[in-house]
């Protein structure tokens, strides 16, 4: 399911993950774009490390050109840089519990798809598969004699990459082939902060139940979203609009001074939330303004 934000921004795909304690937690799946960016960052970091190793090897090989064992240095450095490139992902995903530097930078984590511990076999498998999924066709493209002379190599690599991309886009949890084999999933885990409670302790404006029946949970949360926006002209305009619409809809007849717009809306938010929470508590969930009490059992 895709949770669309009340203000129309599209949020990440979500799905529940069952904990052993029996409380489902919502995990967010990153966009393929986010994963790609993190991956590119990782490739850059590991390549940089590999190049540094290579340079050092070159330096040492140059200094000891005539000394026997150091004749091995350059090829050894080649090998080391190959290993650095390949061991990088495995090392960090084991050491940092499913995060590489790139993933950490963009708030992504690899977790076990069923909520269990991340096993070392799974980490190794998902990363070696990447070699087949991605690096191999890229290398094929790089070493191919050219687009004109060997169209088959290009076609093969292109088809392979397309097939791998399709797997990511078509599986419900956006899994790479490596995730399929490793039983893992990549989630977005940005740190969220506890925001202040918008409800006010005391109210300057008072609303009767008749006023509060006009709206439901959806409208309440849109209002919450707007009130939480940083203060700027755009927000002031939005608040003004919303105030006017609320006044019209609930039939508010005492004029509210312009400078008290925010107080009015905060009070309305508080009263509305108190009302809807009480209603929800007795089993009447007013989803939105179209809610109609069809049972006739609950007295207002």
């Amino acid at each position: 399911m895709t949770a669309a934000d009340p203000l129309g921004r599209v949020r990440r795909k979500q799905r529940p993950l069952m904990t052993p304690e029996g409380v489902p937690l919502l995990i967010e799946l990153p966009d393929p774009g986010e994963r790609l960016v993190a991956f590119v960052a990782d490739v850059c970091i590991s390549m940089a490390a590999a190049i540094v190793i290579l340079m050092l090897g070159w330096l040492i090989a140059g200094m000891f050109r005539d000394v026997g064992p150091f004749a091995f240095t350059l090829p050894a450095a080649l090998l080391m840089s190959f290993l650095a490139r390949n061991a990088y992902f495995i090392f960090f995903e084991l050491r940092w519990a499913g995060a590489t530097p790139g993933k950490r930078l963009f708030g992504l984590r690899v977790i076990d798809r069923h909520g269990g511990p991340l096993r070392s076999g799974a980490v190794i498998a998902r990363n070696l598969t990447r070699q087949a999924e991605f690096f191999f066709p890229i290398e094929l493209l790089l070493i191919t004699k050219g687009w004109l002379w060997s169209p088959w190599d290009v076609l093969l690599a292109g088809l392979w990459l397309a097939a791998m991309g399709t797997i990511v886009l078509r599986t419900p949890d956006r899994l790479r082939a490596g995730d399929l084999i490793g039983g893992t999933v990549v989630i977005a885990l940005p740190k969220k902060f506890l925001l202040e409670d918008l409800a006010r302790e005391t109210a300057q404006f008072e609303f009767s139940p008749a006023h509060l029946e006009a709206y439901g949970i959806h409208e309440l949360q849109v209002l919450e979203e707007v009130l939480r926006q940083p203060n700027n002209e755009e927000k002031a305009r939005l608040l003004h609009d919303i105030k006017a619409r609320i006044e019209r809809r609930i039939g508010w007849d005492r004029p509210v001074p312009e400078r008290e717009t925010e107080t009015f809306l905060r009070d309305f938010y508080t009263a509305q939330r108190a009302f809807l929470e009480r209603r929800k508590n007795i089993g009447e969930e007013r989803r939105d303004k179209h809610y109609r009490d069809t049972t006739g059992l609950i007295e207002h």
Binding site: L17, T19, P20, V23, L25, L26, I27, A71, F72, L74, P75, A76, L78, L79, F91, L94, R95, A97, G98, R109, I111, H114, G116, P117, S120, G121, A122, V123, I124, A125, R126, Q131, A132, F136, T171, L175, L180, I181, G182, G183, K191, F193, L194, L195, L198, A199, T202, A203, I217, Q221, E224, E225, R228, T270, A271, R273, A274, E277, R278, K280
Partner: protein, 332 residues
């Protein structure tokens, strides 16, 4: 002015300090590792985690403050990961994998391994029989890139030169580095990766590799070089063929999961049993690395056919012992 009572706000005020404390512990565990926590903190962590889960359940039921529910969801998930998805010590994980998981995974797929070995053997025998009968078959079974000039037209001396060529010692590791990108990597990836297609490409490729080896054997046999060639190829070939067998077995397992997912959906079947196949394929990578070292270094250094054969036989024995014996539960 009048006071407003809001259950969700009271609830938040009561529990907030616990959430903050949990957040702090998670922060320490994430940045400095779980070992940085004191004993007292370690005792508090699961309690706070469960309290956060219960807060989340309550908040979902009573609170309409979206930011609050989102925060609790995020907090509980991060705490869950600190507790259940531990950081793994790299060296220990790798030792555990080699000492236990890998040989167990291979034993768990012995049917697939046997099938792959059977296919390989069938290829070798048929390749040998065909080329033995008529050397014209050689070029059908061995692509030109692989043959590198060797073929029905080669003389005994030419073949012998290939078998005993020593490369410069300095470039031994370079050979090794090259080897890692070479044909074997491609073949093994295809063996494993194409397993998704019901395992059929895997079977055919295994057969094809067997045919190639059989053809080479027959070519050298005709020129009285069977012993030399066997030594030349077995020093690393045992590990290499072992690797190909493991890749093929893992590919066949994937094919089986796609064809017969049993009572699961295909995605679920893959996620449940796929990791096992993945581990076996990783075993193939390990064997390829060993074979690269053997080919890149030892074959260049050791020229005697007897010594080469001895190393080949020893590696066969060691690999077999490893996969059959290693990581078994000790009987009490």
């Amino acid at each position: 002015m009048s006071a407003v009572t809001l259950k969700s706000r009271e609830f938040r005020q009561e529990r907030e300090s616990g959430w903050r404390e949990l957040e702090e512990l998670i922060g320490v565990a994430r940045t400095m590792g779980i070992r940085a926590l004191s004993n007292d903190d370690l005792r508090r962590l699961p309690l706070l985690y469960r309290a956060a889960l219960s807060s989340l359940s309550v908040a979902r039921a009573i609170a309409l403050d979206r930011a609050l529910v989102a925060y609790l969801d995020n907090l509980a998930l991060r705490a869950f990961l600190v507790i259940y998805a531990r950081q793994l010590p790299v060296v220990d994980s790798i030792r555990e994998f080699l000492a236990r998981s890998l040989p167990r995974a291979v034993r768990g797929m012995r049917v697939h391994v046997a099938l792959a070995l059977g296919m390989l053997a069938l290829g070798i025998v048929s390749g040998f029989a065909l080329v033995n009968h008529d050397e014209g078959w050689f070029s059908v079974m061995v692509p030109a890139g692989m043959a590198q000039g060797r073929g029905p037209a080669s003389t005994r001396a030419e073949l012998l030169r290939v078998l005993s060529t020593q490369s410069q010692s300095g470039s031994a590791l370079l050979t090794l580095a090259n080897y890692l990108f070479s044909n074997n990597t491609l073949v093994s990836l295809l063996l494993f990766g194409l397993g998704f297609m019901a395992g059929i490409p895997t079977l055919l490729l295994t057969l094809g590799n067997g045919l190639m080896l059989g053809a080479f054997l027959a070519l050298h046999y005709h020129r009285g070089l069977l012993g030399e060639f066997t030594g030349w190829v077995s020093i690393h070939g045992v590990s290499e063929l072992g690797a190909l067998t493991l890749f093929a077995a893992a590919g066949l397992k994937l094919g089986e999961l796609v064809l017969f997912p049993g009572e699961h959906t295909r995605t679920d079947a893959l996620s449940l049993y796929g990791p096992r196949a993945g581990e076996v394929a990783v075993g193939g990578v390990v064997m390829l690395l060993v074979s690269a070292v053997l080919e890149g270094v030892f074959r260049q250094v050791i020229a005697s056919t007897d010594a080469r054969l001895a190393i080949g036989a020893a590696s066969l024995l060691l690999w077999t012992l490893y996969y059959v014996r290693a990581g078994r539960e000790r009987k009490p």
